[in-house]
Amino acid sequence: MKTLTFSQALNSGLRAAMEHDHKVVLMGEDIGKLGGVFRITDGLQKDFGAHRVIDTPLAESGIVGTAIGLAFRGYRPVVEIQFDGFVYPAFDQIVSQLAKMHFRSRGKVKLPVTIRIPFGGGIGSPEHHSESPEAYFAHTAGLRVVAPATPQDAYWMLQEAIEDDDPVIFLEPKRRYHQRGEVDTEVAPRTGSLFKANIARQGNDVTLIAYGPLVKTALDAATAAEDEGIDIEVIDLRSIEPVDFETLATSVRKTGRVVITHEASRFAGMGAELAASLTEKCFDHLDHAPVRVTGFDIPYPPSKLEMHHLPDLDRILDGVDQVMRRTRAQLGEEG
């Protein structure tokens, strides 16, 4: 057991993957000498060489497209997209090529490409540096999409993503990069649970679903709710596609109430899918419609306004009040 920051855990995960399989190569802008703008690849070029930690020209479509070519040749490329908002130039290569090649080739070509994307807001950055693009990828058949929420998960999930033979979009909650946590480096790879949700906290009254950066916020909210006598079960999705509906539905059948939270815009976001699917699967158990606590349907706002846009403890608890059918006024009377 070591105490590592989220970034260190990712760095260690990459190192382990590279040691484990010499076909693993890293690609991206500034990932070499600089170690990436978030230093996730710090020291790796020095230790593994410029042929395995590859600084690329400044062109995201080019990065993903050549990663596909390398995968054709038997490599296992791990691509770093510098910030979430810069993945869109690569969208065509991701959606029309990476996602579909296995199907297109009738199973002959495997493209085990991992695309690491630091995602989400809360770091006080200008436009394009705080996006949450997961729904675009989740809606795209052929991709798998995962997001770790703790240093421990970061460590093993990254290795499993790299070992997976399908393309994986690996979303890293960048505002948690400095978060510290215990990491057991014996825990990986192959815990076999990359696509299983994690019950981060058990509870009986409400199922609160989160992933990536908001898992911590959700846990904080659950702690706060405890004081009000509400017992929240917090589920960390881990895998956004496929979603582990079995774990979710079991919880919802128990609690009868669902709150879903994410930073991404609400309209046609992941919350919609989770709400719709859980309503289908658990309709007769539901006391209230699933409630979504999400970013607004606006471009990511300037940093001085981002605290409004990002779901926080209060907004999540407001969502909890809704599914408990408690108004703020009632709460005042009761409390």
Binding site: V25, H51, T56, P57, A59, S61, G62, V64, G65, T66, A67, I68, G69, L70, A71, F72, R73, G74, Y75, D92, Q93, S96, Q97, K100, H102, F103, R104, S105, R106, G107, K108, V109, K110, A141, G142, R144, D165, D166, F195, E241, P242, V243, D244, F245, E246
Partner: protein, 373 residues
Amino acid sequence: MSNTFDVPAPAGTGEYLQIIGPDGARHPCEDLDVWVSDIDQRKLEDLYIDMACIRRLDHEGTALQRQGELGLWAPLLGQEAAQIGSGRALSDEDFIFPSYREHGVAYCRGVAPQDLLRMWRGAAPSGWDPYEVNMANQQIVIGAQTLHAAGYGMGLKLDGSDAAAITYFGDGATSQGDVSEAMVFAASYQAPVIFFCQNNHWAISEPVARQTAGYIADRAKGFGLATWRVDGNDVLAVMGATRAALEHVRSGNGPAFIEAVTYRMGAHTTADDPTRYRDALELEQWAAKDPLDRVAAHLDSLGADLEELKKRSTQAADELAAGLREAITTMPDPSVDDLFKNVYSHEHSWLDEQRDNYKLYLESFSQDAEVTR
């Protein structure tokens, strides 16, 4: 009516390397002769037969589409020399990233008839096993495959391999950002990649002058690529340039670019009607530069037995055609299982559930036969 945005007058075909002229006369070509010095009469006859075969292949493709056996077909008519000249220059280890029109290159790779037609029939998203023939499946998104070739070339370099990657694309494709980026990457890593552009003068209805003010080959030079501009209807020139480019990239000198100046004699696809946008005259001019006729004329001048050659080539083409027809009639239709297979390479809880539900739904029709709608 202002003509502000009319297409600029075509830049003309300009200078290019040529060995056998349209009339069959052979010209000395300093740059390329050395690369085709081994091509004797016998080998040239073989190239002729290859071209005749893929012309027939193309003809069958169009015919099968007309008969409803194929959903679509993209004719290669006129581009036989470009495809055979380059395709026959490659070694088996070289890996090919084609677009959708390279039936002739696939033929060089020995792709089986069924595999060649599968996609066009709508029976599968693609045909062959890329690793069996070292050729990726057809690419429909213009230019996307060029980046795959650049990446594959990077892999070859990492492996210390002697092989090369080659990618085929059209004149229209040169406008796509991906193609420029592919040149940037290949040049940045000095990867063994050949960019083979069949400039057939048209991107559906748009003339090449809409895509570029100068020559396509010059575009590549600006990216630092070694560049050849050749008569794409001259099978020897194309072969010579491809061999020269292969030698260049295999020697670690970085990527190369070939512009093969040719012409799309047919429609863009069987869904296209080129009479809406181009002159019969232009077609005539290019008909006079036919890739097969010039080789025949040249062989004639060498004293070859043309009659025997045409007999041989017709026979080979007939066999090929028979194989294609046989392939179509025996090709099984895909099944419902093929819908859900290969989306992922292993278990996917959500999709597996969808598949099972859909199968139950389908079964409900057969089981409750009395319930009809």
